[in-house]
């Protein structure tokens, strides 16, 4: 074969490879919400309906524990200083004098606790950016696609999130958070070194969005650990305006089952 022939073959190969490109990224656009009982699961066994697992989070009170149990249903592996802070919170709660947490004070929640609220989330997807708007306190997360973290990252409440697709799974890497947010509202702290990797994927029918979260912060936890949350697609729900200081919205839907909303 002449060199030109070889080159033609290479061009042809290029065409073949192009046609075997990975499937288009799934579309997460829409409104998503946890629902009672099936909302946030940290229990590996995924207990049957009605069976209370510490990590299965449904009602409001349980939501607040969302990040205090791991995927295998164990308390998160805290370093002693972090355990002492959690104890302060639990002692105060037991004495009926609960300590305020940032979320209650309308302060930013942080990543990944952002995604544990019993309020709807709107995902706005474009090839370059995936934006998640949380109704709760109008918090917004920006996931910048196919790029690295900036150099000289300044700590910010939600950190810096970058994402890419791996065979239909959205992998989001977050660093650069402040240490001012609590990791869980039961008082779990974290350091500025907190590293969160989320793997989002759709269920086969497209109606559930699963987020497998790996948490790594050696200053706070003795080892990295995982938790898993599921959100349900809610085409019937539109986000409402949420003005934290106004005490705008009740949580009836989460504690008493779905209600019809405009």
């Amino acid at each position: 074969m002449t060199p030109c022939g070889w080159a033609m073959a290479l061009v042809a190969l290029g065409v073949c490879r192009a046609s075997a490109a990975p499937a288009p990224a799934p579309d997460f656009s829409g409104v998503w919400m946890h629902s009672p009982g099936t909302a946030i699961r940290s229990g590996a066994a995924h207990k049957s309906a009605g069976e209370a697992a510490k990590g299965v989070v449904g009602g409001t009170g349980e939501f607040r524990r969302a990040l205090s149990y791991t995927l295998d249903d164990r308390p998160v592996p805290l370093q002693p200083w972090a355990a002492a802070i959690v104890k302060q919170y639990s002692d105060a709660a037991a004495a009926n004098k609960p300590l305020a947490d940032p979320v209650t004070l309308c302060l930013p929640s942080g990543t990944p606790i952002f995604l544990t609220q019993p309020y709807p989330y709107q995902i706005v997807q474009t090839p370059k950016q995936i934006t998640i708007i949380s109704e709760a306190n109008q918090e917004i997360r920006f996931i910048y696609m196919n790029q690295g973290h900036p150099a000289n990252l300044k700590p910010a409440p939600f950190g810096n999130s970058v994402g890419h697709w791996e065979d239909g799974t959205l992998v989001v890497d977050t660093i650069g958070q402040t240490d001012k947010t609590l990791f869980a509202t039961v008082g779990v702290p974290h350091t500025k070194a907190l590293h969160v990797v989320e793997r989002f994927r759709l269920s086969k029918d497209g109606n559930q969005l699963e987020d497998l979260i790996t948490i790594d912060d050696p200053g706070t936890f003795t080892n990295s650990w995982q938790t898993l949350w599921r959100l349900n697609r809610r085409p019937d729900v539109r986000l409402l305006e949420y003005i934290c200081a106004d005490g705008d919205q009740d949580q009836n839907e989460m504690t008493h089952g779905p209600t019809t909303r405009p």
Partner: protein, 258 residues
């Protein structure tokens, strides 16, 4: 020798592409490589994705055609009273004192960046205002919910549609708040229609903001703001009462602060 053969072959390939739709695609790729990203994105008149911010800050909305605001007598009195009360201190700007979100249309003039994201499913376009991290969710190609189902919100309820190169955003159902930073009030029937269109080769976005409120104004009137495309700006976290983005370089801000 091999060079020559390869070159010939590439020529063959180029000939193959020219005369097919591939030629246009290669031309597009070539142009995209030559032009800065901002200019290239600007070539699509319906692609508003990205961060924009006002070219100039002005706390007051006034009609862009140079006419005075067409107040009704009650509207004129309401505005005069508001200005007087602000001066006396009996009326405060709750957006500043209590961190309550600025609504539509006021926030459209804020000297902070706006991230516009057009969902790829075509169902929503969102304006994310860095100021107080307010989202305006615009439901595309929908009708407004009937009155009972309107959300009571400072940003109101927004629907949008494209006509040619203009995005029209229609907003109703705003909670009572200020129409602009000077304290211009509105009553319950405020209706705002935005006409957004890229200008200057896509590097700027014009917003013609039509304000209708029969209790306040004898007829609708239109203010104008222009946003500049900010290729290198990302929305920062905004925490009310804390040190946020330094906006002192935005033209008009220093004067307004004095």
């Amino acid at each position: 020798m091999r060079m020559t053969a390869s070159t010939n072959c590439l020529d063959c390939r180029r000939r193959d592409l020219i005369g097919s739709r591939g030629a246009l695609r290669w031309l597009a790729v070539g142009m995209a490589a030559l032009l800065p990203a901002s200019a290239w994105a600007g070539s699509n008149s319906r692609d508003l994705n990205g961060v924009w911010s006002v070219t100039d800050y002005n706390p007051a909305y006034i009609p862009a055609d140079g006419t005075p605001i067409p107040f009704t007598p009650a509207g004129r009195k309401a505005y005069q009273d508001a200005l007087q009360q602000i001066k006396q201190g009996s009326l405060t700007d709750i957006s500043k004192t209590r961190c309550i979100s600025e609504g539509i249309p006021r926030i459209l003039a804020a000297p902070y960046p706006i991230d516009i994201q057009q969902g790829q499913d075509g169902k929503v376009t969102v304006f994310i205002f860095e100021l107080a991290h307010v989202p305006q969710i615009i439901y595309m190609n929908q009708t407004q919910p009937d009155g009972d189902n309107l959300n009571d919100a400072y940003v109101g309820n927004s629907i949008g549609s494209w006509s040619g190169d203009t995005l029209t955003v229609d907003t109703v159902g705003m909670r009572k708040s200020w129409v602009d930073d000077t304290g211009l009030p509105h009553d319950g029937d405020l209706h705002v229609i935005e006409h957004l269109r890229k200008i200057n080769g896509g590097l700027e976005l014009e917003n013609l903001i039509t304000i209708e409120d029969p209790g306040m104004f004898t007829k609708p009137w239109t203010a104008r703001r222009v946003y500049q495309y900010r290729a290198n700006v990302k929305i920062m976290y905004y925490l009310c009462g804390e040190k946020n983005r330094d906006i002192s370089a935005v033209p008009g801000v220093k004067g307004a602060m004095q």
